[in-house]
Amino acid sequence: MSSEQQPGVIVVDRGHPATRDGRGLVRGIGVVLRHLRDAFGPRLERPEQTSGVFTVQYPEERTPLPEASRNLPILLFDDDSGHELCTSCYQCERICPPQVIHITQARDPASGKAVPAIDEFILEYDACMSCGLCAEVCPFDAIKMDHAFELSTATRDPLTVDRVGLARPVSYYAQLAPQAWAEARDGAMKKLQGSRRRRTGTVGMTPARAAPAPADAPAAPIADAAPAGEPAGGEPVPASDAKAARLAAIRARNAAATDAPAPDAAPAPAGEPVGGEPMPAGDAKAARLAAIRARNAARQREGGDA
């Protein structure tokens, strides 16, 4: 070991010059046998250790994930009141690079005015690239990155996750990232108070809390909110078709909104993508979505004209 050690630098003295006449072989065998012996000793854990097995036997053993580890986004709601922190500000939807977040804002049932809450929030986990920009940009600390990573499924349906599937209590996130939440908590809770003042009834409450759960309701996602355990959207969701339809509807409405000033009132031929983003041709999924979108947009425009 060298005498003057810099912090963070671990000096390992190999201490032998060039060798010849087979002595290198003998020395190499010595090194290898030392590693063989030490492999049956204590695990390699400290950085200054140079030998010992470092394998983590994954399904049984897991290394704890660092607090800032991120995989897929979740939506937080307040444990006590059941109110979601999200205010439908659309920041995350705008910044998401692959555009996999789809939001509709809630309206006051009585007055029809927009309120700072979500009506639906759909996230396509299968296309999310885990960049964390949505969590980064959210001014209300409403969307956070989860640690769960074991999400493989046989079909892609469970990977289109809606408001119910995304909901996690604040306490869950506080347990995942205690430090980050400690810094964000006060501001987030204060902003939530502000939002709640403009919400009425059950608007803005996470669906599992808003309505008494029907007997045949699928297990609430809160129940399986164990840290990094169950896949967030893993359980087969019977309502996946409904979810996909709603997603298409949101897309179509948005497309129609951007398309509204278009002069030609003739119904757009079905199958032709209407709306801003060009879709990659040949992609079955894209084609299907585009078809739904175009049909809905056309229908909406006709309804508006009448």
């Binding site: 065998i29 090194v31 290898v32 390699l44 097995v53 470092f54 394998t55």
Partner: protein, 423 residues
Amino acid sequence: MNRTIVISQILVIEQAPGWLVAALNHAIIAGVLLIGGAITMMLQVWVERRLIARMQDRLGPNRVGPEGILQSIADGIKMFTKEDIIPRAADRWVHLLAPIVALAPIAMMLAVLPWGRGLVAVDLEVGVLYIAAVSSISGVGLMMAGWGSRNTFALLGAMRSIAQLIAYEIPLIIALLGIVLLTGGMSLARMPELQAGIPLFGSSIPGAPDLGLGWFIFTPVGLLGGIIFFICALAEGERTPFDIPEADSEIVAGYMTEYSGMKFAVFYIAQYLLNFALAVLSAVVFLGGWQGPGVAWLADAGLGAAASLLSLLWLLLKAWGLFMLMVVIRAAVPRLRVDQLMSFAWKYLLPLALVNVASAALWVGLTEWSSIEWGNLLPVDGLAPWQRIGVAALVTAVINLGATRWVLRINRAPAAAPVVVPA
């Protein structure tokens, strides 16, 4: 001494016609050898993977079966179910035949190896010659694979392997030649029998116990020959540091690049079987084969079957020990460059092997010739056999040691300038 156990005597099928007995004999022996070979190969792969893993601070395959011992079977099933891909530009038949041509000679090598006291499938008088001839056939298989694949990497790998096989075949056979001189015959089955007794002196001292330790490795000639042979065996078996033909970091997988599924598996089996056969051969020729403490004692006590079993255990122990040594060397030494490979064969091993043959001849002269054969120049007749062996050992030790030092010195590269490591 019964060199071969005739299976028909065990099975007691006296009424059967002679040709049927012979056919059964051969079928049973071939079956035992080949099944044993396959099981050995699976065990080898598992042992190697687990050992190397520990040496590299990993655990290795430990999921299939207890401690992962069935991993090779799982791999075998995977190989079986894989698609067999033949490149469109490949020469179909050459591509198909290459693995077979590579494996068959190695399986044939197993036939002449003496596995234990009296356990040899075929006792050839020219066993050493047979081994040398047959083992070089598999090189043809490698070249067929490289050429038939129509792939540049495969061809490069095949060329490298041929260059390597030819370069190392020569010192390998010359190293064997020294022992052939000592034993005065080419029969592999006889070699272990001549390595009875005590270290160095064998059975030359009257009254000394037969420990089964008169291994050739304890004589100067056998030591140098054994080291040369083992290094050449590493090269023949394409073990690291001589795995140049299939250097995966340079030329994908060498001649195996275009092989998949069972054809690939056959190459794989051939390689491990060759390694094992060479380990057994080294053990037979230099480490006393099946000789070991207790074998002669059991045989003298009339327990022939127990002696055979113990001798088989001794041989397997030695062979597995050598295989472990190969594994350790693989973990410890990086791959050579092609020029280093060639200069090592031609500049170090070949001269030393030639000197070793001369030493062996001198040994035979000093221990077996009479004074008259020496032209009355050396008064060797008055010495007891063990005294003559002592003299011969001394003389050959001096010659071999001197030659080794000389070869190492003349090949030494000029000292490089000291490397200054920036502080």
